[in-house]
């Protein structure tokens, strides 16, 4: 169930951003995600690459927010998981 865990972690990170009025600094996001620094970095890079989150501002004021795609992911998360389960993928 490696991939399921991965999708779940992605969902959790996106959810944290959403629950913080769609804007959160990297340090609290790392803390709330309950991942190691290395693990968080890996997921964060993937989220940026997949255009699920975007960075706003720079330097100390740098914040992370969801893109439209990220919001769509959260909206469709249950559908994706149900689909994977149903078709044994």
């Amino acid at each position: 169930m490696v991939k399921r865990a991965k999708l779940e972690i992605i969902k959790d990170i996106l959810k944290i951003i959403q629950e913080n009025r769609n804007s959160i600094k990297l340090t609290p996001l790392l803390r709330k995600s309950k991942l190691s620094s290395a693990g968080f970095k890996e997921y964060y890079t993937e989220l940026i690459q997949r255009n699920l989150v975007k960075e706003i501002g720079s330097g100390r004021e740098r914040k992370v927010s969801l893109t439209e795609r990220g919001m769509k992911f959260l909206e469709k998360y249950r559908t994706i998981i149900d689909f994977i389960d149903e078709f044994e993928l």
Partner: protein, 227 residues
């Protein structure tokens, strides 16, 4: 003996056309209906599942194309037909058809097994396996030989699905049986092309079962993916 052209369009060709069209439509609807959830999740299982149905659509198109020429020219075997495709021995036509057929089955298998088989770079093994099956298929045009090759393919695929089901932690398994039926009836479809006399009189039953399986999968996809 060749079937009169008029009669061919009245009976066989019409049925073939509807049959192939329904299956190709179902396969393409599965492929495009899962586009959004794949793009959002980048899930490899969904990717291979979609590719399997894309290849099923292509394979059924190839099957219809070959079947149409077999019927139109009243030809009894793929080997005779191959003169039309500038492929006198029939080996290239058989090879391409078998490759398209086996790659769709292997992609379906890989969509279920990718987690257990690990690294996605192993996907090239799926193509190698399909090429091997195609090469083995062209070694002889004897009906029993082709029957044996396809039976072997079915046994391998069934055993893999069976062990995947057995080792799964999930209690309820709805789709392994559907996948096995899908592969079984697809192999019957392959045999129908490679050994045209194999199903004389029973084709309609095979067609009805095949359509039912594809419609079941499409129904579940629409229900779950909702696109």
């Amino acid at each position: 003996m060749a079937m009169p052209f008029q009669q061919m369009f009245d009976i066989g060709s019409g049925t073939e056309l509807i049959y192939s069209f329904v299956i190709m439509l179902c396969s393409l609807m599965v492929f495009f209906g899962t586009k959004q959830i794949y793009e959002l999740s980048s899930h490899k299982g969904i990717k291979y599942f979609r590719l399997a149905f894309l290849f099923f659509a292509i394979a059924y198109f190839a099957r219809y194309f070959i079947k149409f020429f077999l019927m139109a020219f009243g030809i009894g075997s793929l080997r005779e037909l191959s003169y039309l495709f500038f492929d006198p021995t029939g080996k290239l036509t058989t090879f391409v058809f078998m490759y398209l057929s086996s790659i769709s089955v292997f992609y379906l298998l890989y969509s279920v097994m990718w987690k257990k088989w690990g690294n996605n770079k192993k996907i090239y093994l799926v193509h190698i396996a399909a090429i091997l099956i195609s090469l083995i298929s062209i070694m002889s045009s004897d009906g029993y030989y082709l029957l044996f090759v396809n039976l072997f393919l079915f046994i391998i695929v069934s055993l893999t699905f069976y062990f995947a089901r057995k080792n799964s932690k999930k209690k309820k398994h709805t789709f392994y049986a559907v996948y096995m039926l899908l592969v079984f009836f697809w192999i019957l479809n392959i045999l129908d092309i490679l050994i045209p006399s194999f199903f004389q009189g029973f084709q309609i039953i095979v067609y009805l079962f095949s359509i039912s399986i594809f419609l079941t999968i499409l129904y579940r996809v629409i229900k779950k993916a909702g696109d």
